[in-house]
Symmetry: C2
Subunit: 347 residues, 2 copies
């Protein structure tokens, strides 16, 4: 009988659950963690051409959708599992939950399994702040935030830390969401102003973040509400039939996106003709194209979230935990000494 060897290091895969992710946020601090994520995002956006970019796999049902978002390059492969079920909250469940896996392309072995509900919030805020480095007006100090849901505090902290925003002007259709965001931001050196309308929130703002949810083709921002010399970080319109900006506003602005084929379907630009001018951000990050060219420009980042960002986030977390012996591991992989003798591990 063969030696059984299912507990060896080769069979174990590091696991970062929700408690471990919270622990990483608290140990490192949310700001250094966002900076680290941005480093990894920039590295990967600079290597854009090397990624296998495919449409997400989506299984639709009457109540929601389950998606798999794979991508990879010559070095690593990743996928994220994510669901969207708006009616879940009625049962005390989350609308969106997510987890992801990072693998080694050379062996096909999984390297990391991680929760990605929290990690997606962090990577989305990091992505927004990274884009703003290239697109926001210089010296921006005030950000309006329309939508104070699960993503709002992460956005505020990222723009405070990376862009230097010192004031956020909050608006949400539900006043208790504004209060929640205000409470959570008390620990940070950010001036928070609760507003009574989107119009009031955007008044005097250099940056406008729209991150509303659960809406169909809504118009959160109309063109007449927004002056030039503003940067709009539009991240709430992220699937077909879900938009936030008036088409006239989009047509007035220079629009930047992550990945054109996906944003044409999922982003706010789904309202425009399929040949409307846009720029992909990897071209800006590599220096191939320019981001903001003058203080007076009106710029919109039409963000929908792309698999490469999840890849970067998983790669970052993997590098954080791979040398850490305190991380939980899972015996996910069979490891018989003789690979042909799989049966041997059962006896």
């Amino acid at each position: 009988m063969m030696t059984i060897n299912t507990n060896s290091e080769l069979s174990q895969v590091p696991f970062v659950g929700v408690n471990q992710m919270v622990n990483l946020v608290n140990t490192l601090g949310i700001k250094p963690l966002l900076s680290g994520l941005i480093d990894y995002l920039e590295q990967d956006f600079k290597q854009w051409q090397g990624f296998d970019k495919s449409p997400r796999y989506a299984a639709h049902s009457p109540e929601g959708v389950i998606e798999l978002m794979p991508t990879g390059n010559h070095d690593k492969f990743s996928f994220k599992y994510v669901n969207g079920h708006p009616k879940n909250t009625k049962q005390g469940l989350q609308t969106v939950t997510a987890f992801g896996v990072l693998s080694d392309v050379d062996t096909g072995y999984p390297l990391l399994i991680s929760e990605m509900t929290l990690l997606t919030a962090l990577r989305t805020a990091a992505t927004s702040a990274m884009m703003a480095k290239y697109l926001a007006p210089k010296g921006a100090s005030t950000m309006a935030m329309i939508g104070c849901g699960a993503q709002s505090e992460f956005q505020a902290i990222a723009f405070n830390h990376i862009i230097g925003i010192d004031t956020v002007r909050l608006y949400d259709v539900e006043p208790e969401a504004i209060t929640k965001c205000q409470q959570n931001l008390k620990l940070y050196d950010i001036r928070v102003i609760a507003c009574e309308s989107a119009q009031q929130a955007v008044t005097g703002a250099d940056i406008i973040t729209t991150c509303t949810a659960d809406k169909k083709n809504a118009t959160i921002l109309t063109s007449d509400m927004v002056k030039d010399a503003v940067y709009i970080n539009a991240i709430g319109g992220d699937c077909p039939g879900k938009t936030e900006l008036e088409d006239k506003l989009l047509m007035r602005a220079n629009v930047f996106v992550e990945y054109e084929p996906q944003t044409r379907i999922e982003g706010d630009i789904q309202q425009l003709n399929s040949d409307s001018p846009i720029t992909e951000m990897h071209q800006v990050i590599t220096g191939e194209k320019q981001g903001r060219t003058s203080q007076d420009e009106l710029i919109i980042f039409d963000g929908v979230g792309f698999a490469v960002e999840d890849y970067s986030a998983l790669r970052f977390i993997y590098d954080l935990v791979k040398e850490n012996n305190d991380i939980q591991t899972l015996d996910l992989l069979a490891n018989p000494q003789d690979p042909r003798n799989l049966f041997g591990i059962t006896v």
Copy 2:
């Protein structure tokens, strides 16, 4: 500040690792486990039309492939992650490793994460034996097995238990693989005959199982080696450019498959014209079409492995463990009391 609630039942997902899967095999016994799998497989093949059947997602690299195999129906969704890296064995790693996830379609929440290296071996043997119930000659008692790798013992035990095979005739190009299989089957009431050629192995066999690996378009069985009144369970030819049977043999036989679009690309019938006659097995299992109609028929099951079989296997394991409080669970899902207050779990 909100109550933090990441340890509640709602955030936990049952995990069946390799040790737990071995434990299930040993606790239940491999034969009852195979019978249980066949029950679930038959239930799902009878509901074939209700499944979302899509091509697998494959990320190819110079050294191998990483695949995601999703499927689902109105009730549950599943996917399997599986790699194939032939050079891994040189590094002491497995060529193929796999794990899978079962989810609730109504909420999008994962229900189970499971290792699937061992589970795939079990479901493949269960699938083969289930097909043989409909396709093998009555009273079959001797099975030739060409290829004595990781799948061989599972096949022998399944055919012994479900079909009543009492003798297996083993052949492999590597004599030590035959010895390994022979040793492992000693605990079972099966007569094992080691053979020196494929020709010798198939002599007098009612059933021939071909499960060779790591070969390109090989010809393990030629037409002149096989008499009528035989059932060939051909499961080794399972990807483009990987076949086991001579085309003349395929043309002589009635061929049954799991899912035509996939088998045309991956199965032994990739050698035939795309309109060669075949029958999908779900039609046989529902009674819509006939399986074996006479003892004299030569029948081939050209098995490649399909996502619905993984769905059945995960569903079976989930039903086994869901009421079991001893099963390990993972804190995979964030569960703030107020769904909008995701940030609250980090403070």
